[in-house]
């Protein structure tokens, strides 16, 4: 039943393979020829705005929906055709719900543990996700963050080889967020392949080894968070100040073009050397202008994200389709 080996494939089969995945709902294309691989022991974040196609992609891998076109494999198996062989080896955290509302955390963990041959110890896991105090609280009376942590525990109870976590930290308090981050990080050491979705940049940056930025169903950028930050334009200095600065004069002083990309937000197209920074700040000092924010060199992942996915600003910098 296993698919014929593909000679072009690397020696190690990736835990998750997505090749030209397209998902169409009636007239809407949710996912548009998306391709990526995830290896065992790797944590990959699908990052994108709401409606980017993140959940559709993950749910296709979980076997909930068929691809309209393209091919997906999880542990070398077809998520729909080989569903029964796959379910013992995957862990799923849905975006919301998924738990009997009248059940208490230890009950539902024990129930889910009974589905698997070699489950984790429910009590240990309960402690790991910090829900020992909520032992006798039914799911419907747990806070949003507690529900998320229980859902994560349920995704991991069966010792999955592949974990799918849909928005694992959405709407969760900082302490719970910290717990979830540390558990997800520990999955890497256990060799678990983890695919998570988020629309939170900071989360993607903290959790993932690799980030895939998708927008309108297409992959617009992929790489380690540090790589993505470097993938932007060669050099620029950004700063915030009062709106309406004379950009012509500043550009002349610095020896490069300067743009006010948003009222009060300026970009100087110059390599961010100390000298260039000094020239900018010197010009501002000379004109007695306050500086509210200054960034040189490294762009934040947010800059990458907004450039890749955001509505075009004006003047519109042509969104680059970086594939690095």
């Amino acid at each position: 039943m296993s698919p014929a080996p593909d000679p072009r494939e690397p020696e190690e089969t990736p835990a998750i393979e997505v090749a030209h995945l397209t998902i169409r709902y009636a007239e809407v294309i949710a996912v548009d020829s998306l391709s990526f691989h995830v290896r065992a022991g790797e944590i990959v974040a699908l990052l994108g705005p709401n409606g980017a196609g993140k959940t559709s992609t993950v749910e296709t891998l979980e076997g909930y929906r068929p691809p309209t076109a393209g091919r997906v494999r999880v542990l070398g198996l077809d998520p729909r055709r080989d569903h029964a062989r796959l379910t013992p080896r995957i862990g799923v955290m849905l975006q919301s719900g998924g738990v009997y509302t009248a059940m208490r955390p230890p009950e539902v963990l024990r129930l889910f543990a009974s589905y698997y041959d070699h489950p984790r110890d429910p009590d240990e896991l309960l402690e790991r996700v910090g829900l020992t105090e909520q032992r006798s609280t039914s799911w419907r009376h747990l806070s949003g963050g507690e529900q998320q942590r229980l859902s994560l525990a349920l995704a991991l109870i069966g010792r999955p080889a592949v974990a799918f976590l849909d928005e694992p930290t959405a709407g969760i308090d900082p302490a719970g967020r910290q717990t979830i981050r540390s558990i997800v990080a520990s999955l890497r050491d256990d060799g678990v392949c983890t695919l998570l979705t988020t629309h939170d940049l900071e989360e993607a940056e903290r959790l993932a080894d690799r980030v895939l930025i998708i927008d309108q169903g297409r992959l617009v950028a992929a790489g380690a968070p540090a790589e993505l930050r470097k993938a932007g334009p060669a050099g620029e200095i950004r700063f915030g100040g009062p709106p309406g600065i004379d950009v012509g004069s500043l550009g002349h002083a610095v020896g490069s073009t300067t743009e006010e990309v948003e009222p009060g937000e300026y970009v100087v197209k110059v390599a961010p050397t100390p000298a260039a920074v000094a020239a900018v700040t010197g010009w501002l000092a000379e004109h007695d202008l306050p500086l509210s924010d200054l960034r040189a060199g490294r762009q934040s992942l947010e800059d990458v994200f907004l450039r890749m996915t955001g509505p075009e600003h004006d003047p519109p910098p042509k969104p680059e389709r970086s594939r690095r």
Binding site: P88, G98, Y100, A102, S114
Partner: protein
Amino acid sequence: MTTTLATRTRPYAAQVRAELTLSLRQGEQLLVSVGIPLLLLTFFSLVDVLPKPAGVEQPVDFLAPGILALAIMSTAMVSLGIGTGFERQYKVLKRLGSTPLGRPRLIAAKITMVLAIEAAQVVVISAVAVALGWRPGGPILLVAPAVVFGTAAFAGIGLLLAGTLKGTVNLALCNGLYLVLLLLGGMIIPLEQLPTGIEALAKLLPAAALAQVMDASVTGGSAFPAFAWAVLVVWAISAPIAAAASFRWE
């Protein structure tokens, strides 16, 4: 071999336990499945105000089989339907779909839960009825197929609603249907008391069919209700098929 068997049945056994725990934990479900039937049986057996069919002397002789039918309807249609509807709304069914439990074991566990509750209902209701003076007779073994066909028919209806409607709409409709079928089912009000047109319609519904089949199975000397059996069997086959065809797991 035994370990293999244990491994394969453990999820089912755990699921049955969970389904039973959840059913017993819902107070309003217990009220519908046990409280209301017992209340109706006891009250109208002791207070002889309802019309009785011709030839019936004490109210409990008519009420006991009707209330047994009502209990089957409440568990198979109302409890199962409402519970499953909310499980669907809260994505429990969806989540279970990605576990190794699998649909066949989930459905088997739900059937077991319904039959277990019905068995308890039959015992309790019969005991109370006997205490109220009921003396059953007739082809009593036919109660078993009556329960099975009735359960299939009402579970089919409950799951048809649960699998297609929103949780709260389903809740309202299941309860509304329960009341309508209680009144049109010949369970506490004899069918012949209904206006002719409504009586004819009622005889085509599964509630009246089950009540009539139950009544004939526990009452000595009554004729075999072939038409009611036929109606019941048709519902027992068609309702689950309709539910299976339309059920949406998400």
